[in-house]
């Protein structure tokens, strides 16, 4: 008899990490396909370049660290990071934006900290912020989606993604998050036919993907609902008090990166708190900071900054929101103890 001595439990009920990643990608698919539809071939190329850059960077890092390549690549986390980063980029951005962002996300934000599970900041959001600060011009060149069929073909699009940046200039339009300039209506913003980051324009499809993840138990209810509340409540208050200068809460919810952030980025296991109360605080903080940065900050969009700030606060939140241990009071003393 040669069975090795094995520890209990002798049965397992978990979904492996790689399957979780696949489900998240599945949930992102509708919004991604819709963005391809709206922004055309340049968006497809940019998406591919970002993912390839992330996977190559991951390969390089793992080889340098002399760790086994297969299990690391098989977890699918590099693909997902690339995918999320791509969705947060201007759809007609040049290829090197995607490449620099992907490499930065994987090497600097993730692998230098020790790889999967060890990073403090969400790699896609950290890369997006670094790109925004380093290349403000390329990162704010928004495209008004061409009317269907009139966009560049697959060959033309190569020139936009891989050629000279001036080509894209001709079609760039109003800045995102400027309700006066863009002309906000709920229908357009829900379906995504407006200027914005590649995968952030279709609020409805992103929310549908998020609900799918909640139903499948991949993400919890706490962080997304707290995030949305954190944006909507102060926005509604401000809108009620000064309706002339403040955009409606609906605009706040449906525009920019709120839906992508609330359902797909803030819910990143690694960089969000693991305690139930901590998740509420984290989500509320993300939402509130987003609204504050949007309202008073120098940048029009605040989702990425808000999430990074709350990422930094995560260890602290976890420390102060530990659940009560069975048989103990919240302060850690036994229920039987008289000590205060």
């Amino acid at each position: 008899m040669t069975t090795a001595v094995l520890p209990s439990p002798h049965t397992h009920g978990a979904r492996p990490v790689s399957q979780t990643m696949l489900l998240v990608m599945l949930a992102l698919l509708p919004a991604t396909l819709s963005s391809f539809w709206h922004f055309g071939w340049p968006a497809v190329y940019l998406w591919l370049v970002t993912i390839v850059a992330c996977v190559l960077a991951e390969t390089l890092a793992v080889l340098l660290a002399r760790r086994p390549l297969r299990p690391t690549l098989a977890d699918g986390s590099a693909i997902l990071t690339g995918w999320l980063l791509a969705l947060s980029l201007p759809p007609w951005a040049p290829w090197w934006i995607a490449a620099v962002g992907g490499v930065f996300a994987i090497i600097v934000v993730k692998q230098i900290f020790g790889g999967l599970g060890q990073n403090v900041f969400n790699p896609a959001m950290a890369a997006r912020v670094v790109l925004l600060i380093s290349f403000p011009l390329e990162m704010t060149r928004w495209i008004i989606p061409p009317s269907l069929g009139s966009g560049p073909g697959p060959v033309e699009a190569l020139a936009i993604t891989f050629g000279s940046p001036s080509l894209a200039d001709g079609i760039s339009g109003a800045t995102v998050l400027d309700p006066a300039g863009g002309g906000f209506d709920v229908f357009t913003y829900s379906l995504g036919h407006h200027a914005g980051s590649m995968g952030e324009t279709s609020a409805l499809l992103l929310a549908a993907g998020g609900v799918f993840l909640i139903v499948r138990g991949v993400i919890g209810l706490r962080i997304p609902s707290a995030f949305l509340l954190g944006v909507a409540v102060p926005a509604a208050l401000a809108y009620t008090l000064v309706p002339d200068s403040q955009p409606s809460p609906l605009f706040h919810l449906l525009s920019g990166g709120v839906m992508l952030g609330a359902f797909f980025i803030a819910t990143d296991y690694v960089t969000s708190p693991s305690t139930p109360l901590g998740q509420w605080i984290f989500g509320l903080g993300c939402g509130l900071l987003t609204w504050i940065i949007r309202t008073w900050g120098a940048y029009p969009e605040g989702v990425a900054f808000a999430i990074l700030l709350m990422n930094a606060a995560t260890p602290l939140i976890d420390h102060y929101t530990r659940p009560r241990i069975f048989g103990r009071r919240r302060d850690g003393h036994s229920l039987a103890s008289e000590e205060r």
Binding site: V5, S8, P9, H10, A14, R15, P71, V270, P323, G327
Partner: protein, 511 residues
């Protein structure tokens, strides 16, 4: 029966209890089979350590002929249990053999070769309610009864608890929350009167007011039978509890049934509650009513690799192989052989391992049933373990501390409150054996504490010694000083006397 009488506060408390997991219970098909007696095997291997506490000490020599129920090995110390002959025959060896042990070790055993006659010692039947609580505890101790749910803590020790503080409630644990196992289910279905009577005997011994029996909802037939058997006893309520692992954990069953939480570092008895497994209650019934020591138990044989899963009534010491053979053998090579349940049981390496008092199940599991993670991958902090932990711990954080050898930090996070139920490892999406780390760390901590205690004792001894030496030195010095003073006084007196004499002489001879 008393479901409608459950106080609202208890019900509100239940809503707050969100711990645990729902593994597939896989009780069928074994749970549908009646308890079948297993024929005597060729040899019985009786480990001397079938319980928590000191191993038993053999009292019959190798070569002796023994009768069923005869004492073979006696308890050593307060927390220990004796071992009796499960049938008549000859003790052919007292040596060591493979036992169910987490690291696959061998242990001391007595080997009994049955003669097939199954002759028993004359036994004495008594009315338990004429016995004093102390007499019941004595008889239970003498019968070698230990916790049959798997914990194997000597039951008599728990019966004695009633002497120290008042006990209001006796809880009988019919949770049986481990997947596959149905030995308690069958016992409650087929012999409910034994369980109820055993419960009443325990209640008499500990002086409890009421008996609450908690049974998981996946055992409707057992609940019905137990309710019927308890009908005449108003002090007994049979309560259906939800299927949830680890509902059979003493603390969690108490919390569910009574709304009371056993304080950390305290025992259930400290809040007036004592818990016994339903199998233990039946064993106590047999020991007291029929004078029968614990020499057999019901074992569920199950798992995808077993041809015909069954519930067998087995003499202690029967090798696992005999059970498997009786169940039609194996249909495939099992990926894991387990004694106990799949959540907390022990993987065994040999089918020669014998059934002992705490063995509720023998599982031959296929690869598909185990669903093992290929290899542990890094923790992604998905916090599934946090939601599932029945103790409200943060397993991922504690294990991170354990891995960096920071036991103090792990303890600060509540390491000692871990009940080793394995829920965290069950839900871990990275396949990390969390509970193994936790068990290891608890072992280290206990060892460190023993060392620290020993050192403190040594230090106290050394301090006492140095103090004594100082005291002695002081006393010696004082004595010496006193002697010196006395000597000087004497000398001074002598001098004075001499001087006086001289003066006298001078006076006498002035010239």
């Amino acid at each position: 029966m008393n479901l409608s009488l459950t106080p609202l506060t208890v019900r509100a408390n239940r809503l707050m209890q969100r711990w645990g997991v729902h593994p597939q219970d896989r009780k069928a098909p074994a749970s549908g089979t009646a308890i079948t007696p297993l024929p005597l095997p060729e040899q019985l291997i009786l480990p001397l350590s079938q319980h928590i506490g000191s191993p038993a000490r053999p009292v019959v020599p190798s070569g002796a002929r023994v009768l069923r129920s005869q004492l073979l090995a006696t308890a050593q110390g307060r927390v220990s249990a004796p071992i009796h002959a499960p049938t008549s025959g000859t003790i052919v060896a007292i040596n060591s053999a493979p036992i169910a042990h987490p690291s696959g070790l061998t242990g001391p055993v007595m080997v009994l070769e049955p003669d097939g006659l199954d002759q028993a010692l004359a036994s004495e039947a008594v009315d338990p309610f004429t016995l004093s609580p102390a007499e019941i505890a004595e008889r239970v101790a003498a019968a070698g009864i230990v916790g049959m749910g798997g914990a194997t803590f000597p039951s008599a020790v728990k019966l004695g608890l009633g002497h120290n503080q008042p006990i209001q409630t006796l809880v009988l644990n019919g949770g049986e929350c481990e997947p596959y196992l149905s030995c308690d289910d069958r016992l409650m279905q087929e012999r409910p009167e034994q369980v109820i009577d055993g419960g009443r005997i325990i209640r008499h011994a500990i002086g409890a007011e009421r008996i609450v029996i908690g049974i998981e909802a996946n055992k409707p037939a057992a609940i019905a039978q137990m309710q019927a058997a308890a009908r005449d006893f108003p002090e007994i309520s049979v309560i259906k509890v939800p299927n949830r692992y680890p509902m059979g954990s003493e603390k969690h069953l108490i919390a569910w049934l009574t709304g009371q939480e056993v304080p950390s570092t305290k025992l259930a008895a400290d809040i007036g509650i004592v818990v016994h497994n339903v199998g233990t209650a039946a064993a106590i019934h047999r020991a007291i009513r029929w004078g029968e020591p614990l020499t057999q138990r019901i074992v569920t044989v199950a798992g995808g690799a077993v041809r015909t899963p069954l519930n067998l009534e087995v003499r202690l010491g029967t090798p696992v192989s005999a059970l498997i053979e009786f169940c039609g053998g194996l249909v495939s090579e099992p990926a894991r052989r387990v004694m106990g349940g799949p959540m907390m049981g022990i993987a065994i390496t040999s089918l020669h391992v014998p059934i002992i008092k705490g063995s509720g199940g023998v599982l031959m599991l296929t690869e598909a049933e185990i669903k093992p993670a290929a290899a542990a991958t890094p923790c992604v902090r998905c916090s599934a373990c946090v939601s599932a932990c029945p103790m409200g711990l943060l397993p991922l954080e504690i294990v991170a501390r354990v891995r960096s050898n920071d036991l103090a930090a792990a303890q600060e996070l509540g390491l000692k409150d871990c009940i080793s139920c394995g829920t965290c490892a069950f839900v871990c999406s990275s396949g990390i054996p969390l509970v193994q780390y936790l068990n290891h760390a608890k072992g280290e901590l206990a060892a460190n504490e023993r060392d620290a205690k020993k050192q403190a004792e040594l230090r106290a001894l050394a301090e006492a010694r140095s103090e004594r030496l100082q005291r002695e030195a002081r006393a010696k010095a004082e004595a010496a000083a006193q002697r010196k003073a006395e000597r000087e006084r004497a000398r001074a007196a002598a001098k004075a006397a001499a001087a006086a004499k001289k003066a006298e002489k001078a006076e006498q001879n002035p010239a």
